[in-house]
C-alpha cells in the first residue's frame, strides 16, 4: 500500500515511564486508530491527491454524512484529510492502525488547545503588567502603551492586546514515538500534546527534516 501519512487518535492523558537506560520520561498516551479510509482524492476528480480517513464510532449521522460513508460500511465519527502524493493502491475501507509508527519515529501532532476564554495581556502574551508600588494604582495588570499619539493617529494592526485565548488548532512538531502497541491501539508520545484529555488528535509523520 502507499505510504500512509498519519492517523487520528484520542488523547488519554499523561503519565511517566522509564526508558531502557532507566531515565524517567514524560509521555502522553493516545488511543490511535483503527482508522478507515473514507475517501481517496485524486488529481482527476479533486485537483490534488489526499486520503481522508475516519476514526471512532458515531452515534448518529445526518444523511449527507451517511451517503459519504456508505461505501466504507462504517459510522465514522471524526474525519481528517492527509495530503499524500502517492495514492497508489489505497482504497476506501482500508484500515490504518498504529503499526505505521514504530518507537523512535518523529511525529507531528495536531489538536485543539484548551479554551481559556477572554484573557488579558499578561496571560495571553506574557506582558509584564504595571508597577505595584511607587504610587501606582489600578495598573497592576494593564497592558501599557499601545502606540503613538498624533502620529500615527491609530493603533497598528496586530498590536497584542487582551482577547480570546486558546481553543485554536495547534501543531506540536517533532515528538518522539516511545511505544506503538497495535493490539491496544496505543501510542505513547514523549512530551505533551495540545488539548484536553479525550480531545481528538491528528498524528502524522513529521514534516521536519531535522535531527533523528
Amino acid at each position: 500500500m502507499a505510504k500512509i501519512a498519519g492517523i487520528i487518535g484520542k488523547k488519554l492523558g499523561m503519565t511517566q515511564i522509564f526508558d531502557d537506560a532507566g531515565n524517567l520520561q514524560p509521555v502522553t498516551a493516545v488511543e490511535a486508530g483503527p482508522c478507515y479510509v473514507a475517501q481517496v482524492k485524486t488529481v482527476g476528480k479533486d485537483g490534488y491527491t489526499a486520503i481522508q480517513i475516519g476514526f471512532g464510532l458515531a452515534k448518529k449521522l445526518n444523511s449527507p454524512e451517511k451517503g459519504h460513508l456508505k461505501s466504507t460500511g462504517r459510522q465514522l465519527k471524526h474525519l481528517r484529510e492527509f495530503r499524500v502524493s502517492d495514492i497508489e493502491g489505497v482504497e476506501v475501507g482500508h484500515a490504518i492502525d498504529v503499526s505505521i509508527f514504530k518507537p523512535g519515529d518523529r511525529v507531528d501532532v495536531v489538536g485543539i488547545s484548551k479554551g481559556r476564554g477572554f484573557q488579558g495581556g499578561m496571560k495571553r502574551h506574557g506582558f509584564g503588567g504595571g508597577p505595584k508600588t511607587h504610587g501606582q494604582s489600578d495598573r497592576g495588570r494593564a497592558p501599557g502603551s499601545i502606540g503613538g499619539t498624533t502620529y500615527p493617529g491609530r493603533v497598528y494592526k496586530g498590536q497584542r492586546m487582551a482577547g480570546h485565548m486558546g481553543n485554536a488548532r495547534i501543531t506540536v512538531r517533532n515528538l518522539q514515538v516511545v511505544e506503538a502497541d497495535v493490539n491496544r491501539n496505543l501510542l505513547l508520545l514523549k512530551g505533551a500534546v495540545p488539548g484536553a484529555d479525550n480531545g481528538v488528535l491528528e498524528i502524522r509523520k513529521t514534516s521536519k527534516g531535522g535531527r533523528k
Binding site: 488519554l12 492523558g13 503519565t15 515511564i17 532507566g22 498516551a29 496505543l186 505513547l188 484529555d197
Partner: protein, 115 residues
C-alpha cells in the same frame, strides 16, 4: 495527574522492594554508572514520605557529616536494585518533615522502635 492511567502502563511491583511505611529505616541499593562501569550504591536512612500511584515514590533522609541529605526514589525505577527495611519506627504522621528541624539525637528519640 488528572486521570489514573495505571491500566495503560503495566507495572509489576518490584519484588526487591520491601513494603515501606514512613518511619522505617531502610537501605536502598541504587545502580549508578561510573564511566562505563556500573555499581550499586547504598543509601541508608529514614523514610519520611511515601507517595502512591503511577508516579509513586518515597523519600529517604539521612544525616551525613552533620548535613541532612534527602533522596527521592521512584518505586518503578529500574535502577533500584533492592530496598531492605532495617527497622520500623513508630510514627503518628504520614509525612515526617518535622524531623528536618531536629538534631539526630532528637529524631532518634522520636522513633524509638514500636515496642
Amino acid at each position: 495527574m488528572s486521570k489514573d492511567l495505571k491500566w495503560l502502563v503495566s507495572q509489576e511491583p518490584n519484588p526487591n522492594i520491601a513494603p515501606l511505611a514512613p518511619g522505617a529505616t531502610v537501605k536502598v541499593g541504587y545502580r549508578i554508572k561510573e564511566g562505563d562501569k556500573e555499581r550499586t550504591q547504598n543509601f541508608q536512612g529514614l523514610v519520611i514520605r511515601v507517595r502512591n500511584g503511577t508516579a509513586g515514590s518515597f523519600t529517604v533522609r539521612q544525616v551525613l557529616y552533620g548535613i541532612g541529605v534527602e533522596r527521592t526514589f521512584f518505586f518503578a525505577s529500574p535502577k533500584i536494585e533492592r530496598v531492605e527495611v532495617i527497622q520500623q519506627g513508630r510514627v503518628r504522621r504520614a509525612r515526617l518533615y518535622y524531623l528536618r528541624g531536629m538534631s539526630a539525637k532528637a529524631s532518634r528519640a522520636k522513633l524509638r522502635s514500636k515496642d
